[in-house]
């Protein structure tokens, strides 16, 4: 079940970017074969919005620092997808995505957490901050983070299952720009 909605997310991203065919062809030409298994996600490389990141100046410093702080597994994930996963004690695995809002994803429940730094920092510093807090001070992270119920990355949360008997069928206007619902709004 978890695999199916993650695959839907990936397909929606590809549709949004309008590159599904082109990306598939390029990947085939390059002969890319992902070197790691990211639980629940397709082994195909992501294409579309996630791989378009402007890296310059402070961003470059931040990116280099982040790369140095990642474990070898996380670095492989990051180099492949510009995102990586962390294991949070007692809470499971979370993905940290390369964007500033709602970018911490609970891989089990599909819930998205939004937590940013109070001062402006490059995106990669934000991701590093989230990684360090999730791995070594998760209580502080979850005490501050917001988890809006309308941004669910899948049908698994119990409340949604109970109310709607499975997949959420109603999309709020505020969710129209949210990637999780992209496939339902096209």
């Amino acid at each position: 079940m978890r695999i199916s909605w993650l695959v839907r997310i990936r397909r929606a991203l590809q549709k949004l970017a309008g590159r599904q065919d082109a990306a598939g062809g390029q990947a085939q030409q390059r002969g890319d074969t992902p070197a790691f298994a990211w639980d629940g996600l397709s082994r195909e490389p992501l294409s579309g919005p996630l791989d378009v990141i402007d890296v310059s100046g402070a961003d470059l410093r931040a990116r280099n620092l982040l790369l140095r702080m990642l474990t070898p597994t996380q670095r492989a994930e990051f180099e492949r997808r510009d995102a990586f996963t962390v294991e949070v004690a007692g809470r499971g695995r979370f993905a940290i995505l390369p964007r500033r809002t709602l970018n911490v994803l609970d891989m089990e429940s599909g819930e998205c957490y939004c937590c940013v730094t109070a001062t402006d920092v490059p995106l990669f510093d934000l991701m590093l901050t989230q990684k360090l807090l999730l791995e070594h001070d998760p209580d502080k992270f979850f005490a501050a983070a917001n988890c809006p119920s309308e941004f669910l990355f899948g049908p698994s949360p119990r409340s949604v299952r109970r109310q709607r008997g499975g997949v959420p069928t109603r999309v709020r206007a505020s969710s129209l720009s949210a990637l999780p619902y992209a496939d339902r709004t096209l």
Binding site: A62, L128, L132, D137
Partner: protein, 77 residues
């Protein structure tokens, strides 16, 4: 030589210091910065500790090791 990195809009601000006399001023600067940042809600982590030791949260300046990263205060988005 110890390194204190404070994440900011430039990427990070770095202060190098050790326990010797030559870097006494840098050490004082690092300690003041560390204390001020933690008082404002930042969190510090010992990183790159060697010998397979995991990163660790730290709140005592005297316990700093080779490299420390201070991350800004976080807020719900």
């Amino acid at each position: 030589m110890k390194i204190l990195r404070v994440l900011d809009s430039s990427g990070d601000r770095m202060v190098r210091f050790d326990d010797g006399e030559a870097t006494k001023e840098a050490r004082a600067q690092a300690e003041a910065l560390f204390t001020r940042m933690l008082a404002s809600g930042s969190t510090a982590f010992k990183v790159n500790r060697g010998n397979g030791k995991p990163d660790e949260k730290v709140s005592d300046f005297s316990a700093l090791e080779d490299e420390t990263i201070v991350v800004p205060r976080i807020v719900g988005g």
